[in-house]
């Protein structure tokens, strides 16, 4: 071996040891610097992807547009009538709440964000959104979508209004949940190897003889302080009792294939949650 190659090999090994032993904070700092540098290109790439998708959708749906417009006009008329009824119910509800001195338990700030990039990495199920540090978004806060819980914020680029969200369908996104109507509490997470199909979540650590039936709702417990309580996660698809515990497959309530708008919430206030549990 040439002396120069040997020196490079030793340098490579030393570099490897340094990188592998980096602390999580150092890794985060490196990743933040990297994202700050490439942020303009990420945004450019995202916009290109959005435009391409919009064009494809336009081509796909152009034939149905006229029919949809007609249907929408009819629906609009119906909704106008329903809205009138709802206003009346809302007024009545407010009056009753005031009379009962109702306290709202799940009060949290929500920031709407647009999905600017889907699946930026090969194996990890993540999305990138157009709200970040400049909108007051922090790491590990829950992200909702139409239907229920979508995931949590994984990375926030300092000084930029962008962040990365790890989806509930990823194996590393774990959520403490409860099967509604039962005392059964478990941890739900995504499943490895689900590609090109409607993803199902895996609910673990249930009792082996849990009275769980397909169609039951799964909601967050709020335990652990990461997610707000009572957020819909999905519906039970099937239940498999094991030797020591039971496992269930959960159909997510969020349509992850067509995720375009998400809502980033503030971090849950644990003290208020604990208080509400005490009240119960």
């Amino acid at each position: 071996m040439k002396p120069l190659n040997l020196l490079i090999l030793l340098g490579f090994l030393a570099g490897m040891v340094w990188v592998i032993t980096l602390s999580e904070e150092s890794v985060r700092s490196i990743q933040s610097s990297h994202y700050r540098t490439i942020a303009p290109f990420v945004k450019g790439g995202s916009q290109l992807e959005l435009k391409a998708n919009a064009f494809l959708k336009e081509v796909e749906y152009s034939k149905d547009l006229e029919e949809r417009l007609h249907r929408t006009e009819l629906e609009f008329g119906k909704l106008g009538a329903i809205e009138g009824q709802l206003r009346e119910l809302e007024r009545e509800n407010n009056e009753l709440n005031a009379a009962l001195d109702f306290k709202r338990r799940t009060e949290f700030k929500v920031t709407a964000a647009r999905v600017i990039r889907r699946q930026p990495s090969t194996w990890w199920k993540t999305i990138e959104i157009d709200r970040g540090a400049m909108s007051g978004i922090a790491r590990q806060v829950p992200v909702l979508a139409s239907g229920g819980l979508a995931g949590k914020v994984d990375r926030v680029t300092p000084g930029r209004d962008e962040s990365s969200v790890i989806l509930l369908t990823d194996e590393s996104c774990q959520v403490s949940v409860q099967v509604e109507g039962t005392p059964e509490v478990g941890i739900v997470s995504g499943q490895r190897g689900q590609i090109g199909e409607a993803p199902l979540l895996r609910l673990r650590y249930l009792s082996k003889d849990a009275p769980i039936r397909p169609g039951m709702k799964v909601v967050t417990t709020g335990r652990g302080g990461l997610f707000h309580p009572k957020i819909l996660v999905g519906m039970i698809e099937s239940f498999e009792p094991g030797a020591f515990d039971g496992e269930a497959l959960v159909k997510p309530s969020v349509d992850f294939q067509n995720l375009s708008i998400v809502f980033v919430t503030s971090a849950p206030d644990n003290t208020s949650h604990e208080k509400s549990k005490e009240d119960e």
Partner: protein, 194 residues
């Protein structure tokens, strides 16, 4: 030699930028063209072992900085006691180096002018890279899972990426000619003759 290596490093940095514009193709099991590994693999067959290791370190480091998500180690509570294991930052450097050594194995053929063998091997190397990456995730998390979807995703990624290797080789030959770096003994000579 140094000028050529710097030009390949610049190509890697450009590839990182271009990679941002590469969407996953939903119809092909979310496959995508992996430009950074492609540039590394094509570049590694045209340089010495030492230079290949330098390239592997840069590519692996930047790849992990770009892609590796965080872990739930900072929660400090008793609910999430068994978080999903994540790969360590820097694991890609090892994978890149392994693929680089694989490409170096057919360097004599490449130097004879048989670049198409190297082009085919880039596809094989990308396949092995993704397969090894998935197996590493499986190893640290346990529970062996290998579905048809995963195999198809890996295969399509490798195939799509391989199709672009002649283009990358063409650019590398241009750089080699520009910096007077000899990467072939036979076939097309890139060294400028006096």
């Amino acid at each position: 030699m140094i000028g050529y290596l710097v030009s390949v490093i610049c190509m890697v940095l450009t590839a990182i930028v271009l990679q941002q514009f590469m969407p996953a193709i939903e119809g092909l099991y979310d496959a995508r063209i992996l430009i950074v590994p492609l540039v590394f693999l094509c570049g590694s067959v045209t340089v010495s072992t030492g230079s290949m290791l330098v390239l592997a370190f840069i590519c692996g480091f930047l790849w992990d900085a770009q892609h590796l998500p965080g872990v739930m180690t900072d929660l400090g509570n008793t609910v999430y006691t068994r978080p999903a294991e994540m790969l360590r930052f820097g694991y890609s450097i090892i994978l890149y180096a392994c693929m680089g050594f694989l490409m170096q194995g057919i360097r004599p053929l490449f130097r004879e002018g048989k670049w198409h063998v190297s082009a085919l091997l880039t596809g094989v190397a990308i396949f092995l890279y993704l397969f090894a990456e998935f197996m590493l995730i499986t190893f640290v998390r346990g529970e062996f899972i290998l579905t048809r979807g995963i195999m198809l995703k890996i295969s399509f990624c490798a195939l799509l990426t391989m199709l672009f290797s002649p283009l990358v080789f063409w650019v590398l030959f241009k750089f080699a000619a520009l910096f007077n770096h000899t990467i072939r003994y036979d076939g097309l000579k890139t060294r400028r003759r006096a």
